[in-house]
Subunit: 362 residues, 2 copies
Amino acid sequence: MAETARTPVSRPRADGSPSDGTADAKSRYGNRPTMKDVAARAGVGLKTVSRVVNGEPGVTPDTERRVQEAIDALGFRRNDSARVLRKGRTASIGLVLEDLADPFYGPLSRAVEEVARAHGALLINGSSAEDPDREQELVLALCARRVDGLVVIPAGDDHRYLEPEIAAGVATVFVDRPPGRIDADVVLSDSFGGARDGVAHLIAHGHRRIGFIGDQPRIHTAIERLRGYRAAMADAGIDVDESWVSLGPTDPERVRRAAESMLTGPAPVTAVFAGNNRVTVTVVRVLAALPRPVALVGFDDIELADLLSPGVTVVAQDAAQLGRTAAERLFRQLDGASDAPERIELPTRLITRGSGELAPAD
Amino acid sequence: MAETARTPVSRPRADGSPSDGTADAKSRYGNRPTMKDVAARAGVGLKTVSRVVNGEPGVTPDTERRVQEAIDALGFRRNDSARVLRKGRTASIGLVLEDLADPFYGPLSRAVEEVARAHGALLINGSSAEDPDREQELVLALCARRVDGLVVIPAGDDHRYLEPEIAAGVATVFVDRPPGRIDADVVLSDSFGGARDGVAHLIAHGHRRIGFIGDQPRIHTAIERLRGYRAAMADAGIDVDESWVSLGPTDPERVRRAAESMLTGPAPVTAVFAGNNRVTVTVVRVLAALPRPVALVGFDDIELADLLSPGVTVVAQDAAQLGRTAAERLFRQLDGASDAPERIELPTRLITRGSGELAPAD
DNA sequence: CGTGCATCTGACAACGTTGTCCAGGCTCTA
DNA sequence: TAGAGCCTGGACAACGTTGTCAGATGCACG
């Protein structure tokens, strides 16, 4: 019965099956036992097995025992794909972020996972590598899997492609950066305020020529932090020389060149504000090689920052809290709350460790 | 948090079934269009839609266009659950690791994801939090989802529970630590050799009283690294005083106590070998607060280790390479290779930065 | 001993997709 | 112009599960 004896087809293989299986799914690798098999072995009906597996009431202890034995004997494991198909909920959520290898996203992802776990859901992870097409591809693949919800750290700036999905009931929360051209829940850190405070801190320590090195201008946080920088400078009545400002990719080479460029010339900066953790790490390296001290404040905390000399002063955001907040919001949506989309902004925290308190060298 | 009393304005639907569908799945939230709907709208048969969606041949350009229009108009997206049910392959793999927030696992996870992506598969992630029960729960949940394969960083030491799954065709590769009581592919770093080399390096710089602080003894890498430590000491003819050795959880408190304990007393150690990245970070902090220099070599590289003074000498393992190798091995299994289970051991690399080259203080 | 009721149980039809197979319509040759 | 083949399209059954509903069983009670 396992192999449905098919008539040996003598027809020429003109029929265009691309490259996949020749037969029905039955022929796939390990044939796993199904509820039907369990039912047959236990001598009960299919539905009774289903009841036992799902802990539904209405099964005699004796029957239940027989079914359980059959389950153990056959090594049966419920096929969740079929279950999903029938029930319409997958108990899984998707998380699309930029790069799981970035120390900022690890804790965020873990926090989302914990909340998901508390709600009995699994987490499917994907890295967009900061590529809008890849983001969309990932998100839609997740939707095809019918994840119940999505947490997205957007790479692109147009998320209208998500509209049909959201309309179809996929809960969606954006994190770290707002979505583009659609209205949806979003959880952010206060990039503007954090950067403004960080730069004001440098100004308070006597700096006036302050550099800003940030991420690419299409990234919302980069723009916001730059805005914070400009606000702090304006508040202090300082004119910003545009040679002090550099936005672009955060690879070490680009950042190094940007830093070196604003540290040389006729009016070199005496302090640098680094726009994120990647930038900070590279700037620390550049400054460490300099003969004179240059002040530094970085956005995002980094491990061991306290042990460097001087310690790195940072505007810290809580990645785990971002993830947790977003995930909780997501499950609130899934639990039926129909609040209007909201923008939640988490505060940042200035941690002084020395590098931000250095006086100007000149 | 304040229970934000939201405007109860217009309830979207009174029909909102409290928590459980009273009817068939039809009544679940957003009713998505199916191929049937698309077919009806395009005025073609169901299978024709399927053909278009899957890019199968045998559809007139004109028909294809009509179908495509209907797809776009309805916002149709194929339901992969149904597809999986029919085809038997999910094009997704599971990764169970200890803690995604640990900087060692981020790059590993990312590497696995990249390989999966190259094979058209998605990655489902789970953190075991070093708890064997949770590991098993996660693994079995992934199996119920019918992932095609599993990459597991084991927390437990008995994986016989996986036997039926492997027999049923779930490709499985263990990483970082070998599985317990079953035979399966495993990709490891050379913990023994790496630790031996690191300790030998300290000995070569004149140390004889060397401490070892490692992870819990039920963790394979902890044991292996301790074995490497003992081998190096034995090679040099040094008797190990057991007060120099400490295994246990890697939380900062425990590690700090362990370090302080072996750094005080009548015969304090003059060097420490730290068993992994978590331990290294804490030991660096402890040593930084000491008046006298103590040498340190750590297992695992850590970010900014080069900028500390002294720089931290480490035995580096390549987490991304571990992940990549394991994932490639996994997909080789999935492509039908039926090699015998293999144990792959990747070399480590000693990176000298200063802390391991300090001479004994006494 | 028969009836009523509560409890268990199982047959059946979905869920949305894909593999198989056949029916038409078409082109091309003899 | 008829027959043979090819191309296109669609009907149908299966994948493994769960919701519905009706049948079977047992028990208490009149």
